[in-house]
Point group: C2
Chain length 193, copies 2
Protein backbone atom coordinates (compact mmCIF):
# COMPACT_ATOMS: atom_id res chain seq x y z
CA UNK A 1 0.00 0.00 0.00
CA UNK A 2 1.44 3.36 -1.02
CA UNK A 3 0.91 4.92 2.38
CA UNK A 4 2.96 8.10 2.78
CA UNK A 5 5.79 7.95 5.31
CA UNK A 6 5.37 10.00 8.48
CA UNK A 7 7.42 12.89 7.10
CA UNK A 8 5.40 12.98 3.94
CA UNK A 9 2.14 12.73 5.85
CA UNK A 10 2.78 16.10 7.54
CA UNK A 11 3.61 17.67 4.20
CA UNK A 12 0.49 16.19 2.56
CA UNK A 13 -1.70 17.43 5.43
CA UNK A 14 -0.20 20.91 5.26
CA UNK A 15 -0.93 21.16 1.53
CA UNK A 16 -4.43 19.71 1.81
CA UNK A 17 -5.14 22.08 4.72
CA UNK A 18 -4.07 25.09 2.65
CA UNK A 19 -6.37 24.01 -0.21
CA UNK A 20 -9.38 23.50 2.10
CA UNK A 21 -8.64 26.80 3.85
CA UNK A 22 -8.50 28.68 0.53
CA UNK A 23 -11.52 27.12 -1.14
CA UNK A 24 -13.64 25.47 1.56
CA UNK A 25 -14.62 21.80 1.74
CA UNK A 26 -17.19 21.90 -1.03
CA UNK A 27 -14.99 24.10 -3.23
CA UNK A 28 -12.07 21.63 -3.11
CA UNK A 29 -12.35 18.54 -5.31
CA UNK A 30 -10.45 15.27 -4.99
CA UNK A 31 -8.74 16.28 -8.27
CA UNK A 32 -7.54 19.53 -6.61
CA UNK A 33 -6.22 17.53 -3.66
CA UNK A 34 -4.37 15.12 -5.94
CA UNK A 35 -2.77 18.11 -7.65
CA UNK A 36 -1.67 20.01 -4.54
CA UNK A 37 -0.41 16.96 -2.66
CA UNK A 38 1.37 15.51 -5.72
CA UNK A 39 0.14 12.02 -4.74
CA UNK A 40 -1.69 9.49 -6.88
CA UNK A 41 -5.44 9.24 -6.17
CA UNK A 42 -4.95 5.64 -5.00
CA UNK A 43 -2.35 6.76 -2.44
CA UNK A 44 -4.63 9.48 -1.08
CA UNK A 45 -7.57 7.08 -0.71
CA UNK A 46 -5.34 4.41 0.84
CA UNK A 47 -4.04 6.84 3.46
CA UNK A 48 -7.20 8.80 4.27
CA UNK A 49 -10.14 6.74 3.01
CA UNK A 50 -12.10 9.61 1.45
CA UNK A 51 -12.19 13.36 0.95
CA UNK A 52 -13.92 13.59 4.36
CA UNK A 53 -11.16 11.50 5.95
CA UNK A 54 -8.48 13.76 4.52
CA UNK A 55 -10.45 16.83 5.64
CA UNK A 56 -10.72 15.56 9.23
CA UNK A 57 -6.96 14.88 9.27
CA UNK A 58 -6.32 18.39 7.86
CA UNK A 59 -8.59 19.86 10.58
CA UNK A 60 -6.53 18.05 13.22
CA UNK A 61 -3.33 19.36 11.67
CA UNK A 62 -4.74 22.92 11.75
CA UNK A 63 -6.28 22.67 15.23
CA UNK A 64 -3.11 21.26 16.79
CA UNK A 65 -0.91 23.93 15.20
CA UNK A 66 -3.31 26.69 16.33
CA UNK A 67 -3.41 25.43 19.92
CA UNK A 68 0.39 24.99 20.00
CA UNK A 69 0.87 28.60 18.80
CA UNK A 70 -1.48 29.93 21.48
CA UNK A 71 0.13 27.80 24.21
CA UNK A 72 3.56 29.15 23.22
CA UNK A 73 2.30 32.76 23.27
CA UNK A 74 0.79 32.26 26.75
CA UNK A 75 3.95 30.56 28.04
CA UNK A 76 6.24 33.32 26.75
CA UNK A 77 4.14 36.24 28.06
CA UNK A 78 5.08 38.18 31.20
CA UNK A 79 1.75 37.26 32.82
CA UNK A 80 -1.37 35.25 31.89
CA UNK A 81 -3.41 38.37 31.02
CA UNK A 82 -0.53 39.80 28.97
CA UNK A 83 -0.52 36.52 27.03
CA UNK A 84 -4.23 36.85 26.30
CA UNK A 85 -3.81 40.51 25.30
CA UNK A 86 -0.97 39.54 22.96
CA UNK A 87 -3.17 36.88 21.36
CA UNK A 88 -5.98 39.35 20.64
CA UNK A 89 -3.57 42.00 19.33
CA UNK A 90 -2.25 39.34 16.97
CA UNK A 91 -5.82 38.56 15.84
CA UNK A 92 -6.38 42.29 15.14
CA UNK A 93 -3.16 42.45 13.10
CA UNK A 94 -4.13 39.28 11.19
CA UNK A 95 -7.63 40.65 10.50
CA UNK A 96 -6.19 43.69 8.73
CA UNK A 97 -3.82 41.71 6.45
CA UNK A 98 -5.02 40.62 2.97
CA UNK A 99 -4.16 37.03 3.90
CA UNK A 100 -6.54 37.39 6.85
CA UNK A 101 -9.50 37.21 4.47
CA UNK A 102 -9.12 33.41 4.61
CA UNK A 103 -10.30 33.73 8.22
CA UNK A 104 -9.86 30.53 10.27
CA UNK A 105 -10.35 26.99 8.99
CA UNK A 106 -12.24 25.93 12.15
CA UNK A 107 -14.65 28.88 11.98
CA UNK A 108 -15.14 28.46 8.23
CA UNK A 109 -15.95 24.80 8.83
CA UNK A 110 -18.49 25.56 11.58
CA UNK A 111 -20.41 27.70 9.11
CA UNK A 112 -19.91 25.65 5.95
CA UNK A 113 -20.51 22.18 7.26
CA UNK A 114 -21.11 21.56 10.91
CA UNK A 115 -24.89 21.77 10.67
CA UNK A 116 -24.81 19.09 7.96
CA UNK A 117 -22.20 16.70 9.27
CA UNK A 118 -22.04 15.58 12.89
CA UNK A 119 -18.61 13.90 12.60
CA UNK A 120 -17.11 17.16 11.38
CA UNK A 121 -18.95 19.25 13.98
CA UNK A 122 -17.75 16.96 16.77
CA UNK A 123 -14.15 17.28 15.54
CA UNK A 124 -14.28 21.07 15.18
CA UNK A 125 -15.85 21.42 18.64
CA UNK A 126 -13.08 19.30 20.16
CA UNK A 127 -10.41 21.66 18.76
CA UNK A 128 -12.36 24.75 19.84
CA UNK A 129 -12.75 23.34 23.37
CA UNK A 130 -9.03 22.68 23.52
CA UNK A 131 -8.30 26.32 22.63
CA UNK A 132 -10.91 27.54 25.14
CA UNK A 133 -9.26 25.36 27.80
CA UNK A 134 -5.93 27.16 27.26
CA UNK A 135 -7.61 30.56 27.62
CA UNK A 136 -9.61 29.49 30.67
CA UNK A 137 -6.43 28.11 32.26
CA UNK A 138 -4.66 31.44 31.80
CA UNK A 139 -7.65 33.33 33.24
CA UNK A 140 -7.82 30.98 36.25
CA UNK A 141 -4.13 31.56 36.90
CA UNK A 142 -4.66 35.33 36.65
CA UNK A 143 -7.66 35.05 38.98
CA UNK A 144 -5.70 33.08 41.57
CA UNK A 145 -2.81 35.57 41.55
CA UNK A 146 -5.12 38.59 41.70
CA UNK A 147 -4.11 39.85 38.23
CA UNK A 148 -7.75 39.32 37.22
CA UNK A 149 -10.27 41.03 39.53
CA UNK A 150 -11.92 38.68 42.10
CA UNK A 151 -15.40 39.55 40.83
CA UNK A 152 -14.66 38.13 37.35
CA UNK A 153 -15.66 34.58 36.40
CA UNK A 154 -12.83 32.90 34.43
CA UNK A 155 -15.12 30.31 32.79
CA UNK A 156 -17.73 32.84 31.60
CA UNK A 157 -14.97 35.18 30.47
CA UNK A 158 -13.26 32.38 28.50
CA UNK A 159 -16.54 31.54 26.71
CA UNK A 160 -17.01 35.23 25.91
CA UNK A 161 -13.43 35.56 24.59
CA UNK A 162 -13.98 32.54 22.31
CA UNK A 163 -17.01 34.28 20.79
CA UNK A 164 -14.77 37.29 20.19
CA UNK A 165 -12.10 35.17 18.52
CA UNK A 166 -14.76 33.88 16.12
CA UNK A 167 -16.13 37.37 15.58
CA UNK A 168 -12.64 38.67 14.79
CA UNK A 169 -12.16 35.86 12.27
CA UNK A 170 -15.35 36.88 10.47
CA UNK A 171 -14.24 40.52 10.77
CA UNK A 172 -11.05 39.52 8.90
CA UNK A 173 -13.26 38.33 6.05
CA UNK A 174 -14.72 41.83 5.68
CA UNK A 175 -11.20 43.21 4.95
CA UNK A 176 -11.21 45.90 7.68
CA UNK A 177 -8.76 48.81 7.92
CA UNK A 178 -5.97 48.31 10.55
CA UNK A 179 -7.21 51.22 12.72
CA UNK A 180 -10.68 49.68 12.92
CA UNK A 181 -9.27 46.29 13.90
CA UNK A 182 -7.16 47.90 16.65
CA UNK A 183 -10.12 49.92 17.97
CA UNK A 184 -12.28 46.79 18.25
CA UNK A 185 -9.63 44.85 20.18
CA UNK A 186 -8.88 47.82 22.48
CA UNK A 187 -12.60 47.95 23.26
CA UNK A 188 -12.68 44.20 23.91
CA UNK A 189 -9.64 44.20 26.21
CA UNK A 190 -11.27 46.70 28.60
CA UNK A 191 -13.26 43.70 29.85
CA UNK A 192 -10.07 42.29 31.43
CA UNK A 193 -9.41 45.47 33.47
CA UNK B 1 -40.34 37.20 -21.13
CA UNK B 2 -41.50 35.02 -18.24
CA UNK B 3 -40.40 37.51 -15.60
CA UNK B 4 -42.10 36.83 -12.26
CA UNK B 5 -44.57 39.46 -11.11
CA UNK B 6 -43.59 41.59 -8.10
CA UNK B 7 -45.56 39.40 -5.70
CA UNK B 8 -43.95 36.26 -7.03
CA UNK B 9 -40.51 37.88 -6.96
CA UNK B 10 -40.63 38.18 -3.16
CA UNK B 11 -41.72 34.57 -2.85
CA UNK B 12 -38.99 33.38 -5.23
CA UNK B 13 -36.35 35.36 -3.32
CA UNK B 14 -37.55 33.98 0.01
CA UNK B 15 -37.28 30.39 -1.24
CA UNK B 16 -33.92 30.91 -2.93
CA UNK B 17 -32.64 32.62 0.23
CA UNK B 18 -33.69 29.63 2.38
CA UNK B 19 -31.88 27.23 0.01
CA UNK B 20 -28.66 29.30 0.01
CA UNK B 21 -28.88 29.68 3.79
CA UNK B 22 -29.29 25.93 4.30
CA UNK B 23 -26.65 24.74 1.85
CA UNK B 24 -24.35 27.68 1.07
CA UNK B 25 -23.67 29.18 -2.34
CA UNK B 26 -21.45 26.37 -3.62
CA UNK B 27 -23.73 23.72 -2.14
CA UNK B 28 -26.82 25.02 -4.00
CA UNK B 29 -27.08 24.18 -7.69
CA UNK B 30 -29.19 25.90 -10.32
CA UNK B 31 -31.21 22.63 -10.42
CA UNK B 32 -31.90 23.00 -6.66
CA UNK B 33 -33.01 26.60 -7.21
CA UNK B 34 -35.33 25.59 -10.05
CA UNK B 35 -36.87 23.00 -7.74
CA UNK B 36 -37.40 25.20 -4.68
CA UNK B 37 -38.68 28.21 -6.63
CA UNK B 38 -40.94 26.12 -8.86
CA UNK B 39 -39.90 28.25 -11.85
CA UNK B 40 -38.59 27.12 -15.23
CA UNK B 41 -34.80 27.56 -15.67
CA UNK B 42 -35.45 30.05 -18.48
CA UNK B 43 -37.60 32.19 -16.16
CA UNK B 44 -34.94 32.20 -13.44
CA UNK B 45 -32.22 33.22 -15.90
CA UNK B 46 -34.47 35.86 -17.47
CA UNK B 47 -35.21 37.43 -14.10
CA UNK B 48 -31.81 37.16 -12.38
CA UNK B 49 -29.24 36.54 -15.14
CA UNK B 50 -27.23 33.86 -13.33
CA UNK B 51 -26.88 31.94 -10.08
CA UNK B 52 -24.73 34.82 -8.81
CA UNK B 53 -27.42 37.34 -9.78
CA UNK B 54 -30.07 35.36 -7.89
CA UNK B 55 -27.71 35.04 -4.91
CA UNK B 56 -27.09 38.80 -4.78
CA UNK B 57 -30.86 39.40 -4.88
CA UNK B 58 -31.37 36.82 -2.11
CA UNK B 59 -28.66 38.55 -0.04
CA UNK B 60 -30.52 41.86 -0.45
CA UNK B 61 -33.76 40.19 0.59
CA UNK B 62 -32.07 38.78 3.71
CA UNK B 63 -30.11 41.94 4.57
CA UNK B 64 -33.16 44.17 4.27
CA UNK B 65 -35.31 41.88 6.42
CA UNK B 66 -32.58 41.65 9.07
CA UNK B 67 -32.12 45.41 9.23
CA UNK B 68 -35.89 45.98 9.35
CA UNK B 69 -36.22 43.54 12.28
CA UNK B 70 -33.44 45.28 14.21
CA UNK B 71 -34.87 48.74 13.47
CA UNK B 72 -38.26 47.60 14.78
CA UNK B 73 -36.70 46.15 17.94
CA UNK B 74 -34.81 49.40 18.59
CA UNK B 75 -37.91 51.51 17.92
CA UNK B 76 -40.10 49.46 20.26
CA UNK B 77 -37.63 49.34 23.18
CA UNK B 78 -37.98 51.56 26.24
CA UNK B 79 -34.57 53.11 25.59
CA UNK B 80 -31.78 52.77 22.99
CA UNK B 81 -29.60 50.60 25.26
CA UNK B 82 -32.58 48.41 26.17
CA UNK B 83 -33.12 47.88 22.44
CA UNK B 84 -29.51 46.77 21.99
CA UNK B 85 -29.75 44.49 25.04
CA UNK B 86 -32.94 42.94 23.63
CA UNK B 87 -31.20 42.32 20.30
CA UNK B 88 -28.30 40.47 21.95
CA UNK B 89 -30.61 38.45 24.20
CA UNK B 90 -32.44 37.42 21.05
CA UNK B 91 -29.13 36.38 19.45
CA UNK B 92 -28.36 34.25 22.54
CA UNK B 93 -31.78 32.58 22.33
CA UNK B 94 -31.34 31.98 18.59
CA UNK B 95 -27.85 30.52 19.14
CA UNK B 96 -29.24 27.84 21.45
CA UNK B 97 -32.04 26.72 19.09
CA UNK B 98 -31.38 23.85 16.63
CA UNK B 99 -32.43 26.15 13.79
CA UNK B 100 -29.68 28.52 14.92
CA UNK B 101 -27.08 26.17 13.49
CA UNK B 102 -27.76 27.77 10.10
CA UNK B 103 -26.12 30.86 11.59
CA UNK B 104 -26.55 34.03 9.48
CA UNK B 105 -26.52 34.19 5.68
CA UNK B 106 -24.35 37.34 5.66
CA UNK B 107 -21.73 35.84 8.00
CA UNK B 108 -21.75 32.52 6.14
CA UNK B 109 -21.19 34.41 2.90
CA UNK B 110 -18.27 36.42 4.30
CA UNK B 111 -16.51 33.16 5.10
CA UNK B 112 -17.58 31.11 2.11
CA UNK B 113 -17.12 33.60 -0.68
CA UNK B 114 -16.11 37.14 0.05
CA UNK B 115 -12.38 36.50 -0.34
CA UNK B 116 -13.03 35.05 -3.80
CA UNK B 117 -15.64 37.40 -5.18
CA UNK B 118 -15.42 41.17 -4.82
CA UNK B 119 -18.98 41.85 -6.03
CA UNK B 120 -20.36 39.60 -3.30
CA UNK B 121 -18.03 41.01 -0.63
CA UNK B 122 -19.05 44.56 -1.56
CA UNK B 123 -22.75 43.62 -1.26
CA UNK B 124 -22.35 41.83 2.07
CA UNK B 125 -20.31 44.73 3.49
CA UNK B 126 -23.04 47.18 2.46
CA UNK B 127 -25.65 45.22 4.44
CA UNK B 128 -23.32 44.84 7.44
CA UNK B 129 -22.60 48.60 7.42
CA UNK B 130 -26.31 49.30 7.33
CA UNK B 131 -26.84 47.15 10.45
CA UNK B 132 -23.85 48.75 12.16
CA UNK B 133 -25.32 52.19 11.38
CA UNK B 134 -28.53 51.27 13.24
CA UNK B 135 -26.54 50.14 16.30
CA UNK B 136 -24.25 53.18 16.19
CA UNK B 137 -27.31 55.44 15.93
CA UNK B 138 -28.84 53.88 19.05
CA UNK B 139 -25.55 54.23 20.94
CA UNK B 140 -25.20 57.88 19.89
CA UNK B 141 -28.71 58.56 21.12
CA UNK B 142 -27.89 56.84 24.44
CA UNK B 143 -24.66 58.82 24.66
CA UNK B 144 -26.44 62.13 24.07
CA UNK B 145 -29.08 61.39 26.72
CA UNK B 146 -26.52 60.16 29.28
CA UNK B 147 -27.87 56.58 29.24
CA UNK B 148 -24.43 55.55 27.90
CA UNK B 149 -21.53 56.82 30.03
CA UNK B 150 -19.77 59.91 28.62
CA UNK B 151 -16.40 58.14 28.49
CA UNK B 152 -17.70 55.54 25.99
CA UNK B 153 -17.14 55.97 22.25
CA UNK B 154 -20.32 55.04 20.32
CA UNK B 155 -18.50 54.35 17.04
CA UNK B 156 -15.84 52.05 18.60
CA UNK B 157 -18.51 50.34 20.66
CA UNK B 158 -20.70 49.76 17.57
CA UNK B 159 -17.75 48.17 15.71
CA UNK B 160 -17.09 45.97 18.74
CA UNK B 161 -20.75 44.93 19.01
CA UNK B 162 -20.77 43.96 15.31
CA UNK B 163 -17.81 41.63 15.94
CA UNK B 164 -19.86 40.11 18.77
CA UNK B 165 -22.89 39.62 16.54
CA UNK B 166 -20.66 37.68 14.11
CA UNK B 167 -19.08 35.73 16.94
CA UNK B 168 -22.53 34.80 18.29
CA UNK B 169 -23.56 33.62 14.83
CA UNK B 170 -20.54 31.30 14.67
CA UNK B 171 -21.30 30.25 18.27
CA UNK B 172 -24.77 29.20 17.07
CA UNK B 173 -23.04 26.85 14.62
CA UNK B 174 -21.35 25.04 17.52
CA UNK B 175 -24.79 24.13 18.97
CA UNK B 176 -24.22 25.60 22.46
CA UNK B 177 -26.37 24.93 25.54
CA UNK B 178 -28.82 27.75 26.42
CA UNK B 179 -27.07 28.53 29.75
CA UNK B 180 -23.75 28.99 27.98
CA UNK B 181 -25.31 31.32 25.39
CA UNK B 182 -26.90 33.42 28.16
CA UNK B 183 -23.64 33.59 30.13
CA UNK B 184 -21.74 34.88 27.09
CA UNK B 185 -24.28 37.61 26.37
CA UNK B 186 -24.47 38.65 30.04
CA UNK B 187 -20.69 39.00 30.00
CA UNK B 188 -20.86 41.04 26.78
CA UNK B 189 -23.56 43.42 28.03
CA UNK B 190 -21.44 44.51 31.02
CA UNK B 191 -19.56 46.65 28.49
CA UNK B 192 -22.63 48.91 28.17
CA UNK B 193 -22.76 49.60 31.93
Amino acid sequence: MARPTEFKREEVLERAMQAFWDHGYLGTSMADLVEVTDLRPGSLYAAFGSKEGLFLAALDHYGEATAARLARMLAEAESPLEGIRAHFRQLAADAARPRGRRSCLLVNTVLELSRQNDAIQERVNRHLENIEGLIRGALEEAHASGELARGKDPAALAAFLMVNIWGLRVFAGTAPKPARATAVVDQLLTILD
